[in-house]
């Protein structure tokens, strides 16, 4: 028995080292389709790398925005600056509360906001957070928080991404493209991503998958608790989407009730402002610049003027 247990432990050690090696080589050498469980998103879908790097040295802020692409494409730091608020947008692609919790823990000490505005919607609460985890893992240096986040999403892709990221750091190799450019989008200082394309893509993003997950609600509670401890005001906001998309989710009422019960201010802007799909939206769930301006002014008037 003792021999067997020793053999297993030795093999596990060997297999772990072998696995890390194979993973690292695969990340470098294999094309994407031959490494489906190692999705390394160099530079990030929504300029995550630029945003993370900037967040490190941005300094104190009045407001930090959190959430998915609806946050980083929905809260324009320039509009808030005009209103006298120094803000930073920590939104990342498909960010769910699991990732928001990690980002807050990491960046709150440096950004020191007075208010956190969290863009919430049923879609991200129905998401397992894998895509967002990979995005963050790919664009930040690994740490214990990142490990906890990877294990929390319980997906091999997140763990593989973390191993690869750790190897990359260990060998001081960079795969990142800081100057990543997208002809339809422009990164604005403070984390906002502006849509440059003026056409309304009415066929994109027209349906929600609504199945609110308990895990995400638990993390939302943890975030609210953390903000309370830090003395930061937490505001939940649901950014407007097209009517077609909004009505495709059967859980809107339930979602509003859940978020309202968290003891923070909550504004569902689908109910507060009236926008026209073809004029104010870039696609089903993202506002264009015109829409962002209206939305941000409404946020300033409704949320911030009420809060302060």
């Amino acid at each position: 028995m003792k021999d067997y247990l020793i053999l297993i432990l030795k093999f596990l050690l060997f297999a772990t080292i072998f696995y890390v090696g194979i993973l690292f080589l695969s990340g470098w050498l294999l094309p994407d389709f031959l490494r489906p469980n190692l999705l390394f998103q160099s530079s990030g879908v929504g300029y995550s790398y630029k945003r993370m790097v900037e967040a490190e040295s941005y300094g104190h802020t009045d407001i930090v925005f959190l959430g998915s692409s609806r946050a980083y494409r929905g809260f324009d730091t320039r509009i808030f600056a005009e209103a006298g608020y120094r803000t930073f947008n920590l939104g990342t692609s498909n960010q769910t509360p699991v990732q928001s919790y990690y980002l807050l823990k990491k960046y709150i000490p440096g950004l020191k906001p007075k208010i956190v505005i969290f863009e919430v919607n049923p879609d991200i609460f129905s998401n397992d957070g894998v895509e967002s985890s990979i995005d963050i893992i790919s664009n930040t240096d690994p740490d214990i928080g990142l490990l906890k986040m990877s294990l929390e999403v319980k997906n091999i892709k997140a763990v593989n991404g973390l191993i690869f990221s750790a190897c990359r750091k260990f060998f001081r190799l960079s795969l990142l493209d800081f100057d990543y450019k997208n002809k339809n989008h422009k990164y604005i200082q403070g984390g906002y991503v502006e849509s440059l394309d003026r056409t309304y893509r009415k066929n994109e993003g027209n349906a929600y998958y609504c199945n609110i997950m308990d895990k995400q609600l638990q993390y939302l509670d943890r975030i609210a608790e953390m903000m309370k401890t830090e003395g930061i005001t937490m505001i939940f906001v649901q950014a407007p989407v097209t009517k077609k998309l909004y009505t495709s989710c059967s859980e809107n009422k339930r979602f509003d009730t859940i978020i309202s019960s968290k003891g923070c201010q909550y504004y569902n802007f689908n109910e507060w402002i009236n926008l026209t799909d073809s004029i104010h939206f870039a696609d089903g769930q993202h506002l264009n610049q015109k829409g962002v301006e209206l939305f941000n002014k409404a946020v300033i008037n409704l949320c911030l003027n009420t809060t302060h």
């Binding site: 028995m1 072998f18 389709f33 469980n37």
Partner: protein, 483 residues
């Protein structure tokens, strides 16, 4: 609890260590421990169904004792019928009630009668067909005086509920497994190492081969109306590997796990896709079920003795029942019947036992003829899997109809071409390993056996790495759990 879950990854080592370090000195307590952990394993899905497991075990335990004690033929038969009827009653209610209710309603409506249909919301207990057949084999063997009933209720409950094979087999015979609960088990290093390797290979089959194939098979079959025959044929190909990887993977994990605990469980698969005819396929596919039907249905009916019509009847009946065992749907009945129709020519031709040995034994490559025979048999089996996979007869015929239409010549423009290419590469690797290990109990049993230890370890580590690199993380359940 699924084998491919984090729960099981914790459960197995904990149970293993407690089993060997805490309970080894007392056989009775060790058996009781097996019962306890097996019930935890089963109750992880739905603890309500543990009652069924206990009831099923107790009925057979006491009925078999009564059968053995009495010399009165009538009483023996009465106890026997009571036991079998109880088992089949439970199985029939949970698995087939709605099927019969639906079909009676359809039949009455068809004949012009008004019929108010009642169906119940019945949840199918996981693995009910497996443990029911296992307990039935015990009672039948006692009734036939081939086995003395046990007086050790704990050993019997452990035999029925032994967690590695409880929910999807192999369906063990009491004569083989039960005595293993009577004798003290000592840890066998070689057996445990072998078991570990078999578990590793089982996980690869399930999580890499089956789960990747499942995505593609589902893509094509779930939207069969949108795809031409060539795509659907590809779907059938992927499903053939999905079901083989899924079920034989489960069996490997089950057998390997049992070995870790010092038990020997019967083989369930013997490289069925390397069969040269359909008879050989059925000697190599789901062996524990095929031999169960052979011993308890086919041979008692007369087997291959008697007149030609009698032989044909026996074959058809056993295949149809076997199909129906898989699920309460006409598609399974049809699948069984079609297999019988493919088997019958071999039986009539007396060539059904032509290929008893492993193909191309002690050779690297098969002959051209053997290769053609294997390809042809695989094609037949693959087409029949369409009935197994389809949710209705209409769907099955639609798919088969498209496969045999001119659209079969339409070159597939693949919706997930990267995934298709990767899955085909994985299948190629899988076939190569299975082919090289086809003379052994499982493919990697003696992989790289004459090589230095670091080469062997590298090979095993490669399988671990491929599992991590290519597994699907959805945690999909095993197909055969639904049976």
């Amino acid at each position: 609890m699924y084998f491919n879950s984090i729960d099981f990854a914790v459960f197995l080592p904990v149970v293993f260590l407690l089993y060997w370090f805490v309970w080894q000195k007392n056989l009775q307590k060790q058996n009781l421990f097996i019962v306890l952990v097996s019930y935890i394993f089963y109750g992880w899905w739905d603890s309500r169904f543990l009652v069924l497991l206990v009831v099923s075990s107790m009925i057979d335990f006491f009925a078999s004792q009564a059968i053995f004690r009495t010399t009165d033929v009538r009483k023996r038969r009465l106890w026997f019928i009571l036991s079998i009827a109880s088992n089949l009653g439970i199985l029939g209610f949970f698995k087939y009630f709605n099927f019969f209710a639906d079909n009676f309603a359809s039949a009455f409506t068809f004949m012009g009668f008004e019929f108010t249909q009642r169906t119940l919301e019945i949840v199918l207990p996981v693995g009910i067909s497996f443990y029911t057949f296992q307990t039935m084999s015990y009672t039948i063997d006692v009734y036939r005086r081939k086995l003395e009933p046990t007086h050790d209720v704990i050993a019997f409950m452990a035999y029925v509920s032994f967690f590695p094979q409880l929910v999807a087999g192999p369906i063990e015979r009491a004569k083989h497994l039960l005595p293993q609960f009577y004798t003290p088990r000592t840890f066998n290093y070689q057996l445990a190492v072998n078991g570990t390797k078999q578990i590793l290979w089982g996980f690869f089959k399930k999580m890499v081969i089956a789960d990747n194939c499942a995505i593609l098979a589902d893509t094509f079959f779930n939207n069969h109306n949108a795809y031409p025959g060539s795509y659907l044929l590809l779907g059938a190909f992927f499903f053939a590997f999905q079901i083989y990887g899924d079920f034989s993977g489960y069996s490997d994990i089950a057998i390997g796990t049992a070995r870790l605990f010092g038990f020997d469980i019967m083989k369930n698969f013997a490289y069925p896709y390397f069969s040269r005819d359909i008879a050989e396929f059925w000697r190599r596919w789901h062996i524990s079920l095929s031999t169960w039907f052979r011993d308890y249905v086919y041979i008692p009916m007369g087997g291959n003795q008697g007149t030609t019509p009698a032989k044909l009847k026996n074959i058809i009946v056993v295949f149809v029942i076997s199909g129906f065992w898989h699920g309460a749907n006409w598609t399974f009945v049809c699948w069984g019947l079609l297999n019988a129709l493919l088997f019958i020519p071999l039986l009539l031709n007396k060539s059904n036992r032509q290929h008893l040995d492993v193909v191309a034994k002690a050779k690297i490559w098969p002959t051209f003829m053997e290769a053609m025979q294997m390809c042809f048999t695989f094609m037949l089996v693959m087409l029949l899997w369409v009935f197994f996979r389809a949710d209705s007869m209409h769907t099955a015929f639609c798919i088969i109809g498209k496969i045999f239409s001119s659209s079969i010549f339409q070159f597939p423009y693949l919706p997930k071409e990267g995934t298709v290419a990767l899955t085909l590469l994985l299948i190629t690797f899988f076939i190569a390993v299975e082919w090289s290990g086809r003379e052994h109990a499982y493919a990697i049993e003696y992989a790289a056996k004459d090589r230095p230890v670091w080469i062997r370890w590298t090979f095993y580590a490669l399988i671990v790495s491929m599992t991590g690199m290519y597994m699907q993380t959805g945690g999909s359940p095993f197909i055969y759990f639904q049976f």
